[in-house]
């Protein structure tokens, strides 16, 4: 039996968790192995050190403080559940309302912008018709005909 296995068995034996047969093998090995004997004594000593740690006596019960904490925590949970219920009921409706209102606002803004643009174009058309761009080529030609600026073709020796 190798020492590595024995040392693991020592840890089990200290807890009384090593089966009887393995315990016999362990004790035989320890009797003839100084290193494992030292390990066995070291583990026993460690156990007694751990069990001898002093601990303060505590007589006061935690129950009164515990009751207060549980009540406070439950009150907080009830409050959070109320918020959650409210949110579940009203948030979807609020979201839809917000969308509709946003849509109306955008629509209204676009209308106002178009109206302002049309007024601007009308004013511009009266003041400087040649600057007004249209999609209508005939209108463009008419605008050109009405323009007072002489075109190079018109500049003939007779004129």
């Amino acid at each position: 039996m190798n020492c590595k296995t024995i040392q693991r068995w020592i840890s089990l034996a200290v807890d009384g968790a090593l089966p009887a047969k393995e315990n016999e093998v362990l004790q035989e090995h320890i009797a003839g192995c100084a290193a494992c004997q030292a390990e066995w004594e070291g583990q026993q000593k460690l156990r007694s050190v751990l069990h001898a740690i002093p601990a303060p006596e505590i007589e006061a019960s935690v129950l009164p403080a515990l009751r207060a904490r549980l009540n406070e925590r439950e009150a907080r949970l009830v409050w959070m559940e109320d918020i959650e219920r409210f949110a579940r009921r009203f948030v979807p409706a609020a979201a839809v309302l917000l969308l509709v209102l946003s849509g109306l606002a955008v629509h209204s803004a676009v209308k106002r912008f178009r109206a302002a643009s049309e007024i601007h174009l009308l004013v511009l058309a009266e003041a400087q018709p040649e600057l007004v761009l249209t999609d209508d080529p005939l209108a463009e030609m008419a605008a050109e005909e009405n323009s007072t600026e002489l075109s190079p073709e018109r500049l003939t020796p007779e004129n």
């Binding site: 040392q7 693991r8 840890s11 089990l12 200290v14 807890d15 968790a17 070291g42 583990q43 000593k45 460690l46 156990r47 050190v49 751990l50 069990h51 001898a52 740690i53 002093p54 601990a55 303060p56 006596e57 505590i58 006061a60 019960s61 935690v62 129950l63 403080a65 515990l66 009751r67 904490r69 549980l70 925590r73």
Partner: protein, 192 residues
Amino acid sequence: MANPEPEERSLIERVARGDKAAFEVLVKAYEPRLLAFMARVTGQRDVAQEIAQDAFVKAYFKIGTFGFRCSFYTWLCEIAINKFLDWRKQRRRWFRKHALTDFTEPHAPPDGSQSPSERAASRETGRIVRDAIARLSPDHQRVLLLREFQGASYEEIAAAMRCSVGTVESRLFRARQRLKEILKPWMEKNEL
């Protein structure tokens, strides 16, 4: 799977349905043991009480996850150890942030059976051993504290920590090897 007494099982099932009176019965049954366990782990009365309270609060709200895989008390101790590890992590962070050294000494009140020098030596032993345990990994601390300070069996520890018995054996072995190594200077001089 643990087999609790029928009365305890019934109490736990009632607590899961929100019965605070049933929970108080459990608290009264386990409070002295849990406080003694945490007093040994922390060495400080007020910290032990605070952590025990935290553990009971958590147990109340998480009782639905208990599952009867180990005894209720072992499950409670596991919760308490996790609370203790969190507390210690926060404390270290606080001391590091304020660039302070934690000189607080855990101490037990004098019981008249020891001389002042014996009491001082005893407190020092406790401090040295607790500091050494604190240097182990969290999993090693859990198995060691449950085994050495609470006396839980390997099977109970395995169920509480949701691992195999083989893993518990292995972790305990490594935890003890490491602890012996850390405490070697004091043990060699017979100062423990």
